[in-house]
């Protein structure tokens, strides 16, 4: 039997019995075979001593059951690790941060509690996946769009709490959260925002309620178990139109980003896009990479011109009334025309609702609000999964050029070729640059990946770039970089943690925040 750290086997057995009484025997998992299903399939520490394998998993089907589990966990000081759909692949999957934690698996709580078509919101339980939500809406022909992230098997609750992102105008998922129900570490149920007013009529319409706004402290957090979440949905747009802007010189990236930022901040471009370049971004390409060996950009620019391959390209998504999106694309072209030599290409456009035949021909439906797993088609052949180092950069071409150079240098200094970078515009006024690393069932290669990853964390922080979210393995490392004024932010988090979770039972180590009794050991 696997046992949580610091818990006697007698206490653990008693706790398991109480869990069984709360949720029913079939929903408490303790065999190695069952617990292996909670290992992180994309773990960068697979089969190593530090791999955080849980000691049990318990799957409640309602808020009262969650409360009962929390009370038992307090009684025996059992660490719980909450997951909603547990598909946090790339960031830890369904595995905990602390080896031996009990996974609190909320997948069975999978009810769509409300969809409002007039004010465009939903109230959901944690186990509802993006696929489930889409299916629910589609079957009832409801007049709302959802915003899925690339893989549709995760959940609005899990993904939004991680502050994930999608592609439509609702792409900033935590920003779309309106009102939570949370089981606190004490076992009490709390509702945030307007939900604190008994009988409130606007829990999912107005985020802030009255007084200090606490909804955000439950994101990337170990302070509560979210059992209901309100999220805002999108009224279906009449049309989608896309077009690509292509520029041909290295330093054209600077005006390209600047003009994009103005269009995004003005609300003209509302969806997520990414900057692309065969020379600097995307998977390494030996032919093009060797051109860079000269250290000058001239051979690259010449190659781009000769082969008619744009040096940088930027696809733009527009959502809204057909007449408006056409005018927005025209306006964007006018703006980008200030870059000498710029060219444009019209991309796919759609009118909604899509017919079944049209839909069947679209490989990537995610930007159209329809969840899929298409993204896995884009992984390199033989992929066994990946993790991403994903710091936030300023929305500027200068910052992007600098970051690409720094990342490449770190990779080459550590003998790892060129970085495989993706640059997304998931959040307003900033860029996310993602350095993707394959994970393997190979201890040596995973060690090497961790070495590069940790060097990147340090180098990025030295440049003022911090990660927006990370794999459980690196949560401590990232938290260490947010160190302004002698780590006052972390100390503040710890003060809150100790006050609301004195036994330190909820998600110990999440984002580098440890309960008091583990703090020194894990520092």
């Amino acid at each position: 039997m696997r046992i949580p750290p610091g818990v006697s086997s007698k206490d653990f057995s008693s706790a398991l019995q109480e869990f069984e009484a709360a949720v029913g025997k079939p929903w408490v998992f303790t065999s190695d075979e069952d617990l292996d299903l909670y290992r992180d399939s994309y773990s960068p520490v697979w089969n190593e001593d530090e791999e955080p394998i849980p000691s049990a998993a318990v799957a409640p089907d309602g808020v009262e059951q969650v409360q009962a589990i929390v009370r038992t966990a307090n009684k025996y000081k059992i660490p719980l690790w909450t997951i909603s759909t547990g598909k946090n692949l790339g960031y830890g999957g369904s595995a905990p941060r602390l080896r031996g934690s009990v996974v609190l698996d909320l997948k069975r709580m999978n009810r769509v509690l409300e969809i409002n078509e007039k004010n465009h919101y939903a109230l959901l339980e944690p186990g509802v996946s993006y696929f489930d939500l889409y299916q629910y809406i589609h079957e009832r022909q409801l007049n709302v769009w959802i915003d899925p992230p690339d893989p549709g098997w995760g959940s609005p609750v899990g993904n939004s709490l991680e502050r994930g992102g999608g592609y439509t105008p609702m792409h900033d998922h935590f920003d779309a959260v309106c009102g939570l129900e949370v089981v606190l570490p004490s076992g009490e149920v709390m509702r945030t925002g307007m939900g604190a007013l008994p009988g409130a009529k606007t829990w999912q319409q107005y985020k802030y309620g009255f007084g200090p706004h606490v909804t955000p402290i439950f994101s990337q957090s170990s302070l509560g178990i979210v059992t209901k979440m309100g999220i805002w949905l999108l009224p279906p747009p009449e049309a989608y139109l896309s077009g690509t802007v292509m520029v041909w010189k290295h330093h054209d990236l600077i005006p390209l980003v600047e003009i994009f930022a103005e269009l995004q901040d003005s609300g003209i471009i509302r969806g997520t896009t990414s900057f692309a370049s065969p020379f600097w971004l995307g998977p390494p390409n030996p032919e093009l990479d060797s051109l860079r060996a000269s250290g000058s950009v001239k051979p690259l620019e010449d190659y781009a011109e000769r082969k008619k391959i744009p040096y940088w390209s930027l696809p733009l998504p527009f959502y809204g009334p057909a007449k408006v999106v056409a005018a927005q694309w025209e306006y964007a072209k006018e703006k980008f025309s200030s870059i000498p030599g710029v060219t444009f290409q019209d991309g796919p456009s759609h009118r909604f609702p899509l017919g079944a035949e049209e839909l069947a021909k679209i490989p990537d439906t995610v930007p159209l609000g329809i969840p899929s797993l298409h993204i896995f088609s884009l992984l390199p052949p033989g992929s066994q999964g990946h993790i991403g180092f994903s710091p936030i950069l300023p929305m500027s071409g200068e910052a992007l050029l600098e970051a690409m150079t720094v990342f490449d240098r770190v990779h080459s200094e550590l003998g790892a070729g060129r970085a495989a970078l993706v640059v997304l515009t998931s959040f307003p006024r900033a860029l996310v640059i993602i350095d993707l690393f394959p994970v393997e069932r190979n201890v040596e290669r995973n060690r090497k990946t961790r070495e590069i990853y940790r060097r990147l964390i340090k180098e990025a922080a030295a440049h003022g770039w911090g990660e927006y979210r990370t794999h459980t393995t690196f949560m401590g490392d990232i938290s260490n970089t947010y160190s302004f004024n002698n780590h006052v932010l972390r100390r503040f988090h710890e003060t809150i943690k100790d006050a609301v979770d004195p036994n330190g039972i909820l998600s110990p180590g999440k984002c580098g925040i440890w309960p008091k009794h583990l703090r020194e050991e894990k520092a």
């Binding site: 075979e33 369904s94 186990g127 069947a360 490989p363 797993l373 896995f376 999964g385």
Partner: protein, 116 residues
């Protein structure tokens, strides 16, 4: 005594053979189709944007169908192995996602056309 054991083995092997060759239970097949639709179709289904189907098509080059639903050579233990252990970028699926009963139904569905 010895004869009794032989008889028992014969009977048991007949039962197992009967199980192996029995036509799959209709309701299990129906349930399995739902499980397939929900959990497998987004990656293994037909139509565009199905990564596992595309990968299998590239690997098998037409020697067998790329969509799992159309295969006639899958077995229940193999299906269970992939669902519970994953393969390449396919992760494991927990029992709160696909229960053992769902998995049995899924196997009934995906083996429904096997030659018996």
């Amino acid at each position: 005594m010895k004869n009794a054991r032989v008889a028992l083995i014969v009977v048991l092997s007949m039962i197992f053979a009967a199980q192996a060759f029995a036509a799959p239970d209709e309701s299990a097949v129906e349930k399995g189709q739902k499980v397939y639709q929900k959990w497998c179709f987004p990656c293994h289904g037909t139509g565009s944007g199905k990564p596992a189907t595309d990968l299998l098509a590239a690997r098998d080059k037409g020697s067998r169908p790329a969509a799992l639903e159309e295969r006639t050579d899958l077995s229940a233990p193999l299906i269970k192995m992939f669902v519970r252990h994953g393969v390449m970028f396919m992760p494991t699926f927990r029992k709160t996602e696909i229960s053992d009963a769902d998995l049995d139904a899924l196997s009934a569905y995906l083996t429904r056309n096997n030659k018996r």
